[in-house]
């Protein structure tokens, strides 16, 4: 039982970073493809397309910070807490990155046809980012209650 808890604890420590990275990979890939496609069809605004497509990279950074915050010797008292906070925050970060990538692709596609809506078109992606920030901050707050030794 102690061994299993140990494994779960380590999964919990690394999960925010790994799952956040998976989400950022997928999200940036979707946004990046949209940006490259838009560049084929337009003559200007390349930089802002690439900028928008990189928005889902923040989730992996949040994941790294949560990972370091959770990082501590794993024992029977803290393994369950580490697992729960790490995996759940990681999943939330992963989903937010993927869906943010989809919002970015839609924003790029819309802004390409109607450049004047560029600012508004990235609002949905920013809202999704807001939920990732909630996940990040409250993972940090809640991890303060997980025993360190």
């Amino acid at each position: 039982m102690a061994e299993l808890l140990g494994i779960l604890g380590w999964i919990g420590i690394y999960a925010p970073m790994a799952l956040g990275a998976m989400g950022s990979i997928a999200g940036c890939s979707i946004g990046g493809q949209a940006a490259v496609g838009a560049m084929l069809d337009t003559e200007t605004g390349y930089g802002r397309y690439i900028g928008v497509s990189a928005m889902p990279s923040s989730q992996v950074i949040f994941g790294i910070v949560v990972m370091f915050t959770l990082n501590r010797p794993v024992n029977i008292d803290n393994a369950a807490g580490l697992f729960a906070v790490g995996v759940l925050s990681g999943l939330a970060l992963m989903l937010s990155a993927v869906y943010q990538g989809q919002c970015c692709a839609a924003a790029i596609h819309a802004a390409k046809a109607k450049p004047e809506i560029f600012g508004l078109s990235i609002v949905p992606a920013a809202i999704v980012e807001g939920f990732a920030v909630f996940t990040f901050i409250f993972a940090l707050v809640i991890s303060g209650g997980i025993p360190k030794v």
Binding site: S29, Q33, A34, D41, G101, K112
Partner: protein, 230 residues
């Protein structure tokens, strides 16, 4: 989770099509450029698109008798992997079947339930059974059919063509909802490209010029009687 974004690069590289078909003055992209972008499709999707184009576009068809066209069409349609795409094609083929029936009846043909009538889709039995009715008994489910019948009766092919283009355009627009960066979105883009291309190619002066060219070409070898007597 990302399956709906398979062709993000391809679709964002294509110019946005207008919301209204009849506001188009030029195709938003040339066929050459469109074909270049379509090279981004994977082999199976490209094969499906080629099948769909082959089934729907006259330029890709060869002249054969009705029974052969229908049988070959049904075989090809069954090879399209997605039910959603099969429905898109079947809807258009059904529409053409109904239009063919309206035109044949206007030309004076009479079909009895015993006569063969080749076509696609679920309306064939209505066509057979209600040949004598203006709308084949389908007026309630297909409100456009009465208008189409009226245009045919008035010998107004331009209005009929406009009605058909608009019907197709609205149908594709409706189907596009929920498909933004996936393969059905690519297919719908290509089908709408055909509609735009057809609409913008309507040109009275060019048509008259072409008609005269055809007449001259056909008449080149014809020697009229009075020419010989002179």
């Amino acid at each position: 989770m990302t399956a709906g974004f398979k062709y993000t690069l391809l679709l964002t590289s294509l110019p946005v099509q207008p919301a209204e078909l009849f506001s188009s003055r030029l195709p938003v992209i040339s066929r050459i450029q469109l074909d270049k972008r379509l090279t981004l499709l994977d082999a199976e999707d490209a094969a499906d698109l080629a099948r769909i184009e082959g089934l729907l576009h006259w330029s890709k068809m060869s002249e054969r008798d009705d029974a052969t066209i229908i049988n070959a069409g049904e075989r090809e349609l069954a090879l399209v992997r997605s039910a959603f795409l099969r429905d898109i094609v079947a809807w258009r083929l059904e529409l053409r079947t109904l239009l063919t029936a309206l035109r044949r009846r206007h030309a004076g043909e009479h079909i009895t339930p015993a006569d063969p009538f080749y076509g696609f889709g679920r309306h064939l039995r209505f066509i057979h059974r209600y040949w004598h009715k203006a709308d084949f008994g389908l007026g309630n489910s297909l409100p456009w059919i009465k208008q189409a019948q009226q245009f045919i009766a008035e010998n107004n092919p331009m209005a009929l063509d406009r009605l058909m283009l608009e019907l197709n355009w609205k149908h594709y627009a409706r189907l596009s909802r929920g498909h933004y960066f996936d393969f059905p979105a690519v297919v719908l883009y290509v089908l709408r490209w055909y509609l735009i291309n057809r609409w913008v190619s309507y040109d009275k002066d060019r048509a008259l010029l072409r008609f005269n060219e055809l007449i001259n070409a056909e008449m080149a070898d014809v020697r009229l009687e009075f020419e010989g007597k002179a």
